[in-house]
Subunit: 340 residues, 4 copies
């Protein structure tokens, strides 16, 4: 930790200030410049209260050299974390050389619909089935999902196809309903719902953690750290577009976070091109770009009849266009030495 003192603070004052800090168990190195002095704190600085320092009248700037996350930090865990679920059929993996594809409708609408889509995406090569039962909607007057009935239908689709299911949890009290769910999705709007994250830390279920609309990379990793601090380290990070000043797409897909995350963390990273763009015609281009940028997978919306979807039809691929995309992605995966 580095502390730049304000210009004009006397050596005497700095000495006293440093003595106080050293009582907290750190060693201090001094660098006296012409207009100001800089302190380098060595040792365990995790107990030092940055905020108190920043408000100190002698201090100009406090800079932490180390990242604030530990369990998610690749520095301390160099090996890649891989999600690898036991299945009866094809291995359901994300990371470790596997490009995991999660596909399915925005919301579960009926037994016919979810089984039909599940079978189609399985045939095309998806390793996981997605589908929303509880839906976060901007308007209280929009369709809010089928709820528990939707969860039941997802489980039926899983039985029919063998695909593990990924679905979104909206609040802690729903957790008991998620027993048969394979991967719990935390949506972008809940990325900093800290109580929910803590609770998931005590769960044994893998968590798909979506980046918030205006969350920095560090905040995403701190959200993962919340879950990991509770003991659950089976986390998949998901870039799904951030909010920027332009609106030709629903959000701005920030693909550079993939190589950036790969450097900072050992957790697998996937991309959601459907929510990022909001436009079905752009999903193939952005899916290819995701694998090219180094992603470990994608989560894609597929609907048998997008024109009549109850939710997000604009961004849904048809089973045919999804199948075509998968064929192209296999060629990309081959170049990158990955399997789909």
């Amino acid at each position: 930790m580095i502390i730049a003192m304000k210009p004009g603070v006397s050596r005497e004052e700095i000495k006293k200030f440093a003595a106080e800090l050293e009582k907290q168990g750190v060693k201090i190195d001094f660098s006296h410049g012409a207009s100001q002095t800089v302190l380098g704190l060595v040792g365990d600085t995790s107990a030092i209260n940055d905020e108190a320092l920043r408000v100190n009248r002698l201090v100009e700037k406090v800079i932490r050299v180390q990242e604030p996350y530990k369990k998610a930090n690749r520095l301390f865990h160099p090996a890649d974390t891989v999600l690898d679920l036991p299945t009866t059929g094809k291995r359901a993996m994300i990371g470790g050389g596997a490009f995991g594809v999660i596909a399915g409708p925005c919301s579960v609408e009926s037994r016919e619909q979810i089984v039909l889509v599940a079978s189609a995406v399985k045939k095309a090569g998806a390793a996981f089935l997605r589908g929303g039962a509880f839906k976060p909607r901007t308007s209280p007057y929009s369709f809010q999902g089928m709820g528990c009935a939707g969860l039941d239908l997802l489980v039926e689709a899983k039985k029919e196809t063998g695909l593990p299911i990924v679905t979104e949890l909206m609040e802690i009290s729903q957790l008991e309903l998620f027993e048969d769910v394979d991967v719990i999705q935390v949506g972008a709007r809940n990325m900093q719902n800290f109580n929910l994250l803590k609770e998931l830390g005590h769960s044994r279920k893998p968590v798909l953690l979506k980046r918030g609309l205006a969350s920095t990379m560090t905040e995403l990793l701190m959200a993962a750290e919340y879950v990991m601090a509770g003991g659950n380290d089976r986390i998949v990070l998901c870039e799904r577009g951030i909010r920027s000043f332009d609106s030709f797409t629903r959000n701005t897909l920030d693909l550079a976070i993939i190589p950036a995350l790969k450097k900072k963390t050992h957790l697998p990273v996937i991309v959601d091109p459907s929510h990022a763009t909001g436009i079905a015609a752009m999903v193939p281009a952005m899916s290819k770009a995701a694998i090219a940028a180094g992603a470990d997978g994608i989560i894609v919306e597929v609907h048998n009849d997008p024109e009549h979807a109850l939710c997000d039809g604009e961004q849904s691929l048809t089973p045919d266009s999804f199948s075509e995309l998968m064929n192209t992605l296999r060629k990309y995966a081959a170049i990158e030495g990955k399997t789909i």
Copy 2:
């Protein structure tokens, strides 16, 4: 609702498309341009599924002319909503000509601290006491608030001073603990926690709803609509800074939302200059700007000893500087014809 058809769609196709729509109970007016046709839908369009329309292969653009919120809309409720709590002493009001000041520490830290600060802010003219018991923190390793014990201390401070208390609720299950709380705060990160909003719709407590870091004005009003749809219309909106590209302040305080909200909604609007800037020295300037811009109040952090605060000391005023600010704000209020 207006629908622009794609260039080149035939009159025949448009006729069929319109006939389908008319089955949903709307009347359609046609405007045939040289390169494309525009449809104006008249009648109750609330049942029309925009999303399905947008994905229709014949449609280029769908534009809703009316705002998507009804209960929060000033068009249908021209008179200002005012928060006016019964108290033993000074009236605790926000709106209706009252500039309501909510003040107190970021977190409750001890009985002494909260009572001391409560008394000081009351003396200076605050109408409400704020204080966090449950704290949303970016890091799992930071102080998370005193929890229930903090709530109890707030209630004690209320007993001592008569000030109604405002504190943040982080999840639905905490609601039963909030019986003695006067105003429930929904934090920026929970502005789109829709289940929480629905639950608060069934509560009879006033809600202080903070704008999310990257939420549009319309989304803020839709969040209020969620609560109001449940029957609770005692809502105070709060601008607390949005995320922009610059970082000289913690967030970017968007004061123009005050006159904009005043036009769109009847709900009162306050400003949080402490979280918006994150810098105590800027709080007075931004508080004055808030009243000048038309706000109905402010929520300000005050701490008896900012250098030793467990949280957000950087942005806390001392009781003395708060008192000085209140004196200036009274002069501003006089110009604006408001009372503090």
Copy 3:
């Protein structure tokens, strides 16, 4: 063009208002809703002054259905525009199935440097040489480029290698110095330097137009329209990262603009992964993502000795890493049916 009248405006007033508009040569269709009336203007609306309409006391909203650009609009020019420069060696193309690679150092530093880098990038397969002579720098105290001497060295490198040269013009008066330059680059900060754009409209040189840091897609196309309105339609658009709230990369590369631009315009689109990320290690991932997303080329910084570069060494590839990247890009191009 669509005009939504304010709620409560009388039929009488609307009639008068519409009569005024019709004097400007348009035909008006009316759609009378319960709370407001919507007007559809048919005919040539280009002369109608939107701004005056918006300020009219009877008007709530004015919506233009058609895009404000004509010459850049794919609707009126369906066929792709391709940049194809005559060269003595390999064809220098961008678009039309060619993935054009522009490579070279941030700034020209010496004869040895530019010739060495030019030869290396040519050998690796680049079709154009880039290099800055006039450099826009944030600080007046930073290296500002070699100026005219730099241009001369670029021309020498062109003679040695046959590669057409791409370099940045910073102001109109420099135009006469650019006679031997093949493609004139307009930097992100000059994207809305309208006088410069107008001047380039009268030039016969191709223009590489970089998207501004905070420019919308429509503004980028309007900037192109400025050049095209003057008669010069040889324009290449370039996405180079926008400013967002996060800072793990220098800017946020917005790759979804590629399919979006491809739909809206016939102009070729390339990507600058070097400036977008500012980090050499991320350039390969983002270059691959660019071709996967449908780009017609990239512009990449290559320096023989990044540690001693006078400018932007952080984001420069070495000739070896560039050559390796080109080998991978050829595989991607093969999948996409493009040539490098």
Copy 4:
């Protein structure tokens, strides 16, 4: 300057690296932590090439403790800079206790219009006349200003009223036409037109420098530094709204930059509420907020007939509403101890 070495770099390597740096005339203090070493550079670090350091394979982070601007820095020039123009009538001042109001139409449209508006704003208390002769417009098909004829009319209005004139320069070659202009405005889109800034550094005219749409506070100060580096220190900074994700106003007015700039620089700071909001009805609220936040003045658009303005009528006050605003601002100025 502080350099954090990468974790794992050996003491030996650090020693060599530091020895190289010391050759550039700095002294180095070492702080050896458990996982990495931090270097503190003391002495004149202005010649050190940050960029080369950042790309060095041993270096993790480079942090400059001091601001990169010198002449604009309040640390080295504590006293406020004040703009104070000689006039025949009322003093035309910005800063130093004077709240300077610049008012006038977006564009000069005719002799009658400019003289009428000039007289009206003078009567209401404005100290400067604004008016555009050369207009930067997003579309090549919009009105581009009257050009030289507009300048002549401004000079006539100045003769009639005695008000000094403020108008925008769009390119260097126009400078010779600006002899009778009192304050040269650099628009937001030209804030980083570095050649223009350098040229203005050699001018003796005061410069009104508008913050770019996506420029940080530091970049604004660096732009001022460009002008000051050339010897011209009569600069007025202007906040005019930044681009954010929301669109209920044209831009997002960032008023917190006023106290932030006041701390960092000695230059006066004004606000443009007209361009920031784009909505006339919001201009009074934002003007009052500007003075409350500590601004030294405002620049406001006033038009005799906004409904027929050739440009930006939506955001123009009428002379009457401007006069009313001035009356309120005088009350605010009295509280703040300023004169209008």
